[in-house]
Symmetry: C2
Amino acid sequence: MTVTRNTKNVPYYQLGFGAFASLEGMVDARRSPESPGALFYVDHFFRGDGGCTLPLPVRGDDLVVFVNTEREPTVENIDLLSGEAEVFFGERLPCCVTGIGGGSVLDTAKAVANLLTNPGRAEDYQGWELVRHPAVYKIGVPTIAGTGAECSRTCVLTNHKRGLKLGMNSDFTVYDQILLDPELTRSVPRDQFFFTGVDTFMHCFESLRGSYRNVIVDRLSETAVDLCREVFLGRGDMQSDDKLEKMMVASYIGGMAAGNTGAVHPISAALSTVLHLPHGKANCYALSVLGDIYPEEHALFMEMKAENGIDLPPGICRYLPDERCEALYRASIIHEKPLTNALGPDYKTILNRDRLIALFRAM
Amino acid sequence: MTVTRNTKNVPYYQLGFGAFASLEGMVDARRSPESPGALFYVDHFFRGDGGCTLPLPVRGDDLVVFVNTEREPTVENIDLLSGEAEVFFGERLPCCVTGIGGGSVLDTAKAVANLLTNPGRAEDYQGWELVRHPAVYKIGVPTIAGTGAECSRTCVLTNHKRGLKLGMNSDFTVYDQILLDPELTRSVPRDQFFFTGVDTFMHCFESLRGSYRNVIVDRLSETAVDLCREVFLGRGDMQSDDKLEKMMVASYIGGMAAGNTGAVHPISAALSTVLHLPHGKANCYALSVLGDIYPEEHALFMEMKAENGIDLPPGICRYLPDERCEALYRASIIHEKPLTNALGPDYKTILNRDRLIALFRAM
């Protein structure tokens, strides 16, 4: 029974099919003579011949940047993007930064908004409580549900130089406003919908199975897990209207829980850092070999995967050279906090090099 | 599948036994040379011989006001309190307003914080979206759980002149920070703990049984109802440590749901307006005669009441003069929105004068 840290909620949300139409009013309410222009980061998925395929509320002073999400955001990329925005807006700041996309785009917008009001480079702020000044006002519009990036106080950035994925963990990173329109997730390819959706299931059950807990986080995590079960195991297609909405709410409530992760996320992070696997898919590979640690959730996940006809081709690490397996081991084991949460202080004994490398080989 | 209104969450919360110790840091962080003094409203329950029995972080420039909670807050009382604060702080504003108590005190602090930055009198702001300017920064510390006042965007005020209870419904009314310390609720008398706690159960099930719904509100309401069942029907005393914490979280999550009420609250409001019954107890009388409309929840409530040895003496309206029953009828039936939510547009036919008066007589 300890006291939680002072926890920040996303201050404003709006939910519903068609909620995207509210974006214009939200952006316009931020415009002022000092900061007339708005900055938009949009998933390249919405890049059409004539510009954006979504009805963006763009005006003359605005900058729209399409973000390539084939790779997850890197610190170098954030530096380039914030430099580009600084050149575009000159002496002024944008009136707001809107991120429209999946976790990568939402995190990109958060990171740039921090950098626009804080000097230096993205990697200077990778860690905890390093951001000094409030970011530019941010609006988050998820177009795929599950990451929880619309709620979280971090923005995960890959730093290849330091061989790690680490976010700018700060209350300033939290979106000021989020817009949850399930309609935007209708066109997400099935595999991606599944891999991203189960991210909510993963981080919520990891929190519930961990040792760092509190009643608010537990109850919100349970609620999000229930919603994921309904989406992936309930009657009807996982992309039917009511499930699109449930999945978006699962991501929001799971993100608001913001519990601590466990053994899945460190292994997943290693797969992303070393093999560039996208986060959601990497989680699935990680859990697929963690039946010993999470028997119940492993079984549930295998059922969800089968039920929705999702393929996870085996053997991705089987023939990797030893030094890459060593790199995977190192990139997993550095995640001290989630591993301690899942396995206790002796996590290095429980999940030793041999066992961990065997797990990667078995994927 | 409609779009929700843009919904405000409480931006910051901290939870845990002992969280009250954080209040000093939170108040001090707001102090400035322009606004050195803080304003505290504290339930008179905590008035001791030498001042407040809680360790309040008071400094020389501060004003501490004990609030008598025998009667629920009235518009006249709010005018007096805000006048007193204006005289005390002179040209300056307090750096923050902290409310420490149950729903009445939390609502008092919210109402005064609005009036300090908005001209006129409390009754000018009874209604929806009437508050024009952001309130003084507010910290809410519930010392009894269940009202949801720590989360809500209203502060219920009785206006005897207009014969109604109506709040200042505004995003500006929402607390900026809440501090959830279950330890503070340990000394609450059993009856009061029960009557206030079941308020969460009531407003959450009313929302779930209503027609104005959305997935976020539903899931949070269900979570809060589950917690209430555990507190009032689970093993162990309702004021054991784990239940004190669960009840505080139920109130928070139920308050965050902020669904629409149904048939209980209008009848309860009439009992409070006409007979001055406190809100929680009035809810209980209301539900006690609504078995026809809410059979399942009525049975559950009767079980909770019996399980915890709570007495609800019958006959409170049996011998009331007819004109007072007429007043109860009128004070119920004006609550159009909750009654429509519960019973549809024909609510006046379903709950006609004769039936409603018979319900009051049966209490």
